[in-house]
């Protein structure tokens, strides 16, 4: 573009000048293109890089805890909730006089001003001063009106019912992490996603304002627990522990049909609101994590297996050899010298000899199968942390005498929940349902309406046939009526159950303790259509320590109240007075059972236990046999005389039977399953509430015929329960859904 010398200089408009103008245009155009390319490169290609850089210098991120999900009981009552509390933070660069501010705040918090000042000076743009303050403290700090001091709403866990179901619920730490129970097991679900507080800062590191990214609240969890039942269980357990001066105790209340745990109590307990003041021992859930020898309650398994395998019949007479048996060199004595007992009486009287003889008929591997089928030796899967598997050695690791020990509930370790679930399987006509404590989850900010929560039953399995189950139920009912469980008799309800007394291992000596026992009672009610299974255990009661003496009354008190609360219709009104008579008699009865004799004197099985079983004791102990005192033997005779089957129909009674039409039935077996023979005819049993199948089984047992109309649950029957069926008559039962 070398300009030519301006030949046409006189022209006002020169082409040369125009060319140069175009040159300038081109120059500026190219320049603007370069700018556009650069803009594209910076804003599109390298966008991410610069966004990151900007965030790094402009934002200080502070995490904001999300609102933790609620924990509800099955009826939507809050058991654990999250409340909003104030946390105080400082933007130190905005505080004119930091030392003064620290002094004032420390005055409210009653802490060291230097500590507060150190916090303030830890950053230029953000520093927590105090987290999760109570309302009064935050109000007072607000009142100070300090510049550069701000408040952030944070959530704090609050357990409105304090100690109620403490071990089930667990507790959370300062940073909302679940540290026990449901809080721990479902921490991910409950916790939600933390939000962020972005503190924007300018180039001088001063805060320019805060942007909150809202935290996502956690989901709510609905438990199968019923707050009221839990309360009943805990109150009665506490009372029983005081009365018996027990060291600890557990209660499991379960719906036998669904496996849902309605109450799970463990005492002594703690207040999860102030869990840090509780000793670690109190925090664990004994009902799922403690393992102990069940003792006689385990005989249910022995007898169930023998009946199911057709190796015995309920009425079959077993020679109990005057209460003594020698098995592989070990001599076992019953607590009473029983002669010949029926299988049913073995349960009723809790005969060790009888149980051992039945187990021997089963053989090791079959017995082992049933133990496992009833859920022992493996976790039940209940949704709580730290659940023990229990201790059930496989049959191939049994010693020769193991079968005898296990038959009477020794050399086997169980948890309360395992045992309750076993009893529920009997109550549920032989179908084992794994226990559950979580009903479901509901989305955040949703109240747990029945629609929102799906109570879906766990996978069930049949362990014994309905017939075997019915036979066992009767035996267990008889145990309450005539055997060791008399103190479990209820008002207006039939009940069934089995007592247990097991020696504890003395952790100091490594031997079975001679004085420390675990007294337990496992049962259900009403017998025909069980509404609840209740298992209670008391650890180391002082003085009287037999399950029948200390655990059965606890079972009775809890079950009585729970049935009333659940509005379960009475099934024993008509025989009320007779129950009272029996109870009066039971007051004098010696309900001792279980023998201090052991087939295996070693406590080696505890070596298999996990750490939660405490120190592993020494391997071998000397045999400890304590003979019944003369006094006990004397009482045993009275009992034996009073409660032999022959005498069932003539119980000693203080008061005569209450005269009424319904009680024209002979005061025979107070048994809900079997109708009572009477002089004039038969009394119709209660079919109401039963399924078709269980009604038919009951009818078959009772030897009466029924006409089934419809399907579902029995709603009506004629004749009504307790009324006399004309000879040759039938009972018509109407079922509906």
């Amino acid at each position: 573009m070398e300009p030519k010398s301006s030949a046409s200089s006189s022209a006002k408009k020169t082409p040369n000048q125009n060319r140069r103008i175009y040159g300038l245009i081109a120059f500026l155009f190219l320049w603007s293109c370069l700018i556009a390319v650069r803009l594209f490169s910076l804003q599109v290609v390298r966008y991410g890089e610069f966004t990151q850089r900007a965030a790094r210098q402009q934002q200080r991120t502070v995490e904001v805890s999300p609102r933790r999900g609620m924990i509800y009981d099955r009826n939507g009552h809050e058991l654990a909730m999250t409340i909003s509390v104030d946390s105080v933070f400082a933007v130190p660069s905005e505080i004119p006089d930091q030392a003064n501010a620290a002094d004032l705040i420390a005055g409210v918090l009653q802490t060291d001003p230097r500590e507060v000042l150190a916090r303030i000076q830890s950053s230029r743009n953000f520093a927590w001063i105090a987290r999760k303050l109570d309302a009064t403290a935050s109000q007072r700090i607000r009142g100070l009106n300090l510049k550069g001091i701000y408040f952030q709403k944070e959530s704090k866990r609050y357990y409105p019912k304090s100690e109620l179901a403490a071990q089930v619920l667990g507790f959370v730490g300062l940073d909302d992490e679940g540290l026990g129970g449901i809080e721990k097991k479902f921490d991910d679900t409950l916790r939600g996603r933390p939000g962020k507080m972005l503190v924007s800062v300018d180039a001088r590191q001063r805060s320019l304002g805060r942007v909150e990214k809202q935290p996502e609240p956690g989901s709510n969890i609905v438990l199968t627990l019923d707050e009221k039942i839990q309360y009943i269980a805990e109150r009665e357990l506490e009372r029983a522990m005081q009365e018996t001066q027990s060291e600890a105790g557990t209660v499991v209340v379960q719906d036998p049909q669904t496996g849902e745990i309605l109450a799970l109590a463990s005492h002594p307990t703690f207040n999860p609101n102030v869990f840090h003041t509780a000793s670690p021992q109190l925090l664990k859930n004994r009902a799922v994590s403690d393992i102990y020898e069940p003792g006689s309650t385990f005989k249910i398994v022995t007898v169930a297996a023998a009946l199911q395998e057709n190796l015995a019949k309920p009425e079959e007479m077993i020679d109990c050899q005057n209460g003594s048996i020698t098995i592989f060199g070990h001599r076992i004595r019953d607590h009473k010298p029983f002669g010949v007992l029926s299988v049913s009486q073995i349960i009723q009287q809790s005969s060790d000899v009888g149980a051992i003889k039945l187990a021997l008929r089963l053989g090791e591997s079959r017995f082992d199968q049933y133990i496992r089928a009833f859920g022992f030796g493996s976790q039940t899967g209940v949704e709580l942390p730290g659940e023990t598997r229990g201790m059930a050695k496989p049959a191939n690791r049994w010693t020769k005498s193991s079968i005898g020990s296990i038959a009477m509930g020794q050399e086997v370790g169980v948890s309360s929940v395992q045992l309750a679930s076993m009893v529920s399987a009997i109550a549920n006509d032989g179908v084992y349902t794994p226990p559950r404590i979580v009903a479901g989850m509901v989305a955040p900010r949703t109240t747990p309406t029945p629609q929102a929560v799906v109570f879906k039953p766990a996978e069930q399995r049949r362990v014994i046939s309905p017939l075997t189950a019915v036979q066992l139920k009767k035996m267990l009912e008889d145990t309450v009526l005539f055997g060791t469980g008399k103190k479990a008799i209820l008002d207006g309800y039939t009940s069934a159950g089995k007592t247990g007394t097991a020696q504890k291992v003395d952790t100091k000596t490594g031997r079975y303790s001679t004085w420390a026992h675990i007294a337990s009672f496992a049962g259900f009610a009403p017998v025909n259509n069980p509404a609840v299974t209740v298992y209670v255990s008391l650890d180391s009661p002082r003085g009287v320590h037999h399950g029948g003496d200390v655990a059965a009354p606890l079972f009775g008190r809890i079950t009585q109240q729970v049935l009333a609360y659940l509005n379960v219709p009475h099934d024993a009104d008509v025989r009320h007075s007779r129950y009272l008579q029996l109870r009066a008699a039971a007051k004098n009865a010696d309900l001792s059972e279980g023998s201090p004799d052991r087939l295996s004197d070693t406590v080696e099985f505890y070596g298999d236990l996990t750490a939660d079983a405490g120190p592993v004791p020494a391997l071998s102990t000397s045999a400890n046999s304590s003979k019944p005192t003369p006094n006990e033997q004397e009482r045993a005779k009275v009992i034996a005389a009073s409660f032999t089957p022959e005498q069932k129909t003539q119980p000693r009674s203080v008061d005569p039977p209450m005269p009424s039409a319904e009680t024209s039935a002979a005061p025979a077996a107070a048994n809900g399953t079997v109708i009572l023979d009477s002089e004039g005819g038969r009394v119709a049993p209660a079919f109401l509430g039963k399924s078709v199948r269980s009604a038919m089984v009951a009818a078959q047992q009772a030897g009466i015929e029924i006409d089934v109309i419809g399907s579902g649950v029995a709603r009506e029957q004629a004749p009504a329960p307790g009324q006399t069926i004309p000879p040759g008559g039938r009972v018509t039962v109407r079922f509906s859904r």
């Binding site: 020169t14 103008i21 300038l24 245009i25 804003q43 966008y47």
Partner: protein, 363 residues
Amino acid sequence: MAKRVSADRWIFGSVVLLVFLGLIMVFSASAVMASERFGSAYSFLFRQFAWALAGFLAMLILMNVDHQKLKHPALVFGLLGITAFLLVAVFFLDRTHNVHRWVRLGPLSFQPSELAKPALILFLAYFLESRTKSLTDLRNTLLPALAPAALFFALIAAQPDLGTALMCLAIASAVLFVAGFRLRYFGYALLPLIPALYFLVWRVPWRKERILAFFDPFSDPQGRGFHTIQSLIAVGTGGVSGAGLMEGKQKLFYLPEPQTDFIFAVISEEFGLIGSIFIVVLFLIFCLRGFRVALRAKDPFARLLAVGITAMIGIQAFFNISVVLALLPTKGIPLPFLSYGGSSLLIMLASVGVLLNISKQVE
């Protein structure tokens, strides 16, 4: 023959739009800082608005004053003389920060270096029109033409404001280029400029820092690279559509002078690629129309005047944007119409008034 047409609507429209956007962006960029420094977020906006009103008044007046009347020696040399006087006077009047840039009259302050640019353009257009036949005459044409430019360059560079000084040279070069000077003269002119720039840039520590920062801003992100990096972050975070008006964060003390030299970074951050390109296109439209006016001008005076005014605005705009985008080293050049700064805005708008008047008289 010359005929009278209406003023160029594209120039008028783009300038009005740019000034309007400038008011918005000055507010957005300065609100936080203004409320902190002056207690009112509108402090900068109100002043800019007042200057814009004055500027538009000047523009409307000059638009309707025949530009041929500017072809008067008293006016041309008077303007040169006043500018030279003011440029000398600032050394005695303004002692803030060892920078001598401002003349203050009560609440008003004025930057004489802004006046230097139109004064130079007017002088060159006037002088070169009469010398179109003797452009190769070194002694009688070139040296007299360059003398005021060299004087202004020296005075402004001494303020020190090397950016504006170089801008004066660039504008003069553009006018001389279009006037028809041989290209090798520009080469000759560069020879003494190189050692001058060496001493002015490389021997002045802070300028050297800026140059180093330009070549590798990330080598010292908290020090000499800070401004460049902050500018790039502002532009980069804008993305395609930007953070939205007032939503930019980089103006909050990260960017140096967000309402003046780095206002384009604020625009880029808040309106993204779309907004940035829009501004560039507005300037491009202005330049194309400005040069179109020059092409159609009826005489060399009008043509050179139009070229000078258009080049002044175009070069300054693209230079400023290039600095923001780190395509050029940091120099304190405001973005015409958009940057906060009263004297600049007033003079730019008055110049546009002249350009619009030229556009009314085409051949």
